[in-house]
């Protein structure tokens, strides 16, 4: 086997080393944040924490987990992500199925596609969107966070490209058996496309998990903020701004360690999702080999 050739082993070993180094470089920033979250305030102020906590303490976590607002927004973040992803994937998948058909099979697809692509680039902007959402009485509801962004054209285009690679014979056989389009989509397209669906679901989840600006705009009270919005307001506001409160509790100034803890806990759910999704990638291979 070629895999065992000498050249290939050399490549294999250097490849492994290279990828390990690359992973190391990528994990360092998160490791830094993690170490910071377990360090003392003084060490954080001096920025002497590298990749191991200095003055180990779990105070930051006690504070973070005892913070009602954090926990509440974490929950809204999860809710929004789940609802948003399910909705978006359903809408996008159905549309992508139709659009994956050639012009011959589906005359008129070109009109649709350009209607979608146009919105990828042009948008009305903040004010009209806000006016619309408030006219629809969606302000302060979770729908204001999931409906406006439900149609991801980017995902739709990737999806339709994935669908196109599905062998024609598969669906034609199904049509002959009398299956309709919905049935073909459900029982042929979806199972074969698990890797791509997993991928695009991941993109959608990440998008929802990280979106913060719509929370600011559409929620009139921080009680409705999803986690990303909450975190953004924590992290971006300069910690120095608080030092003006000279006569108040000093513990709340310069709470870099608490911020670090919040960043870490905030990233955790979405970080866990990926390894979990990877099993669908493998499944895809199996199905892929079956199909021909």
């Amino acid at each position: 086997m070629r895999y065992r050739s000498r050249g290939y082993s050399v490549f294999s070993i250097s490849n492994t080393i290279f990828l390990s180094l690359l992973s190391l470089i990528c994990i360092l920033p998160l490791l830094h944040v993690l170490s910071l979250s377990f360090s003392s305030r003084a060490a954080a102020t001096a920025n002497i924490v590298n990749f191991w906590p200095i003055g180990f303490t779990t105070d930051a976590y006690v504070k973070t987990l005892g913070n009602e607002m954090f926990i509440h927004s974490l929950w809204i973040g999860v809710e929004r992500t789940v609802l948003g992803t399910v909705l978006s994937m359903a809408v996008v998948t159905m549309a992508a199925y139709s659009l994956s058909k050639s012009v011959h099979k589906f005359p008129g697809r070109q009109i649709y596609i350009w209607i979608f692509v146009f919105t990828m680039l042009f948008s009305g902007g903040l004010i009209p969107s806000y006016i619309l959402v408030s006219k629809l009485h969606l302000i302060d509801t979770i729908w204001s966070l999931v409906l406006p962004s439900a149609v991801s054209v980017w995902n739709m285009i990737l999806m339709l490209n994935f669908f196109r690679t599905i062998p024609q014979e598969l669906e034609e056989a199904a049509y002959i058996d009398g299956a309709g389009h919905l049935r073909v989509l459900w029982s042929i397209y979806l199972p074969v496309s698990m890797p791509s669906i997993a991928t695009l679901s991941l993109f959608t989840m990440v998008f929802h998990w990280n979106s913060w600006f719509d929370g600011v705009i559409y929620m009139s009270n921080p009680n409705g903020y999803p986690l990303a919005t909450y975190l953004h307001s924590m992290i971006v506001s300069d910690n120095l701004s608080r030092v003006g409160v000279t006569l108040a509790s000093v513990d709340n100034f310069s709470n870099r360690t608490v911020k670090a803890a919040q960043i870490f806990i905030g990233a955790l759910p979405i970080l866990i999702v990926y390894p979990f999704m990877q099993k669908y990638f493998v499944k895809g291979i199996v199905l892929g080999s079956v199909k021909s």
Binding site: S40, R41, A42, A43, T45, A46, N47, I48, E68, M69, L126, I127, Y130, I131, S134, V216, I217, S220, N221, P222, N223, Y225, Y230, S233, M234, V236, S237, D238, N239, L240, S241, R242, V243, G244, V245, T246, L247, A248, S249, V250, D251, N252, F253, S254, N255, K259
Partner: protein
Amino acid sequence: MSRYLRVARLLTLSIAIGLLPTLAACSKNNNSESAPKSSSASASPSASESGKTEEPTDPRNQKFDPPVTITTAILDDGASRGNAFKPGESMEDNANIRWMKENMGINVKFDFIVTKPEDYDTKLRLLLSSGAKLPDAFAAGNDPLQSLLAADKLMPLDEAIEKYAHPEYKKLLEKYSYALGEVKKDGKIYGLPAFFMGDEGTVMWIRKDWLDTLGLQPPKTLDDFENVIKQFTENDPDRNGKNDTTGLAVPLKEGPWTWMGQTDAIVAALTDQMINTYDVRLFWNKGADNKLSYGAIHPDAKLYLQKMRDWMSKGYLDKEAGIKDPSKSSELVASGKAGIMFGPFWMGDWPLGDATKNDPKADFEPYPLPVGPNGLVGRAEKPLTQGFTVFRKDFENIEAWFAYFNKIYAKKLEMEGDPYFDPRWKDGYHEGYDYVKWDGKIVKGNYEAAGVPADQWPLKDGGTMDIRYMMTNILGNFTSIPHSNSAAVKKFLADPNAEPATALEFDIKQLKKRQLDAAGVRINQNITEGKNYFTGPMTPTMKSKGELLKKLATESYLKIIYGEKPIEYFDEFVKQWLDNGGQKITDEVNEWYAKNQ
């Protein structure tokens, strides 16, 4: 808006409400001498003077029947505020809201609550754009404020102030009327200012242990100062055998003037000009001809640039100063890599107190500012106001608003015989929140140590509550009384163990020793702070060219300091500055000044 101002705006609320008594971590005898005596005639409520048909109401016990509802909006920075509410309570539902409802007949409703200053302005603009009703009373500043004024959406306040405001507050407004430029239109006042305490003037923080190690004296002159930063840079003051120390930690990303690490002291030792490059509204200095001119383009600025350039080339300044903001820069002092940093008195705790925690030897002490070759010494004054509380034009219940405001203001003054002082707030605001009565004493913190049983602690963990957020609600911005804490600082400098008599003194007593020392250093050095003479709204050219000029000035300054451009480049910069709108702004500023002097 410059970063500094953004921060400053947040500070407004924080500092302003910082005056309210909160964290006094000690107990005080119940028989307080600050209880009001209603005998004083000097401060009778003006409502009784002006209103012919009105009954003279007792301002202490004003209750509105039928109840009124006041809508507002607020910036609730959840990140910094710590424990502002008990579990289950919130900005919208808490002890004070209920108290106001029951005792004053005032219902408070929030149209929106945000967590960041930028978001506040965005929300306000969105609200306006969608044609929604404005809140009744709310904070506004800068551009939104000017929009509201231009749109004629706000209520002129002269009459209401005259009729309802606390007499002491009227005096305060008169005293600082020069700072109201932004809310004056056609001779009327449209907003109540949020004053800073004005106590954040620069002091010089130096590693005393390094001075001692190197056998140096604290620098009295700018030449001494230069020698100290030279020695700190070159002579291994931390004795670790490595050449890894710097003289001065200074953030230059935002120009010479910022909120910490600023170099106004160096500027002021060389010239009587005040210099900032990061905001075209600061600093406009008054010349001998009674005209205003922009400090950053004054020829004297070259003296400053020359000095900084020289120090930068010799390595006395942090070489990366140009890419650092104040908080990044402070890491150098907190980690023991730099020996001097300028800044406000509060630095004694954060970040400099942290330096000591990391290295017990690290001893940052505050010192008076150095004197320049011509005997000049000084610092710049942080603008006294930031933001205003404004009222919707058709707001009908301004009397109710002032009833609440006066109560808070009287509590802050704690003036003897004040008829506005509510005796129900004698010991604190709300029992079980900011204070607890135990064993005949008022306990305001350290409940466990004071022997208060756990079931009576305001919070389960025995911590202190920061009640200011609860109290601020309809006030929008809340004002400090500028420079009102000097006496308290002096009192505790003289006797650190003195008994605090007022809420303000309670707070001052909570300062860390270094902070108190630094506040004393600033007060005792007794120098006139360089004022910004332009306090008006942004001029049209400032709006259109301000950002360009800010970029040009900050960039040019840094290029000269870093030696990328020769010092002569300054003249070219000045020409560009004037040509690109600077001249026009200067004219507009002077036009304003001539009118509003």
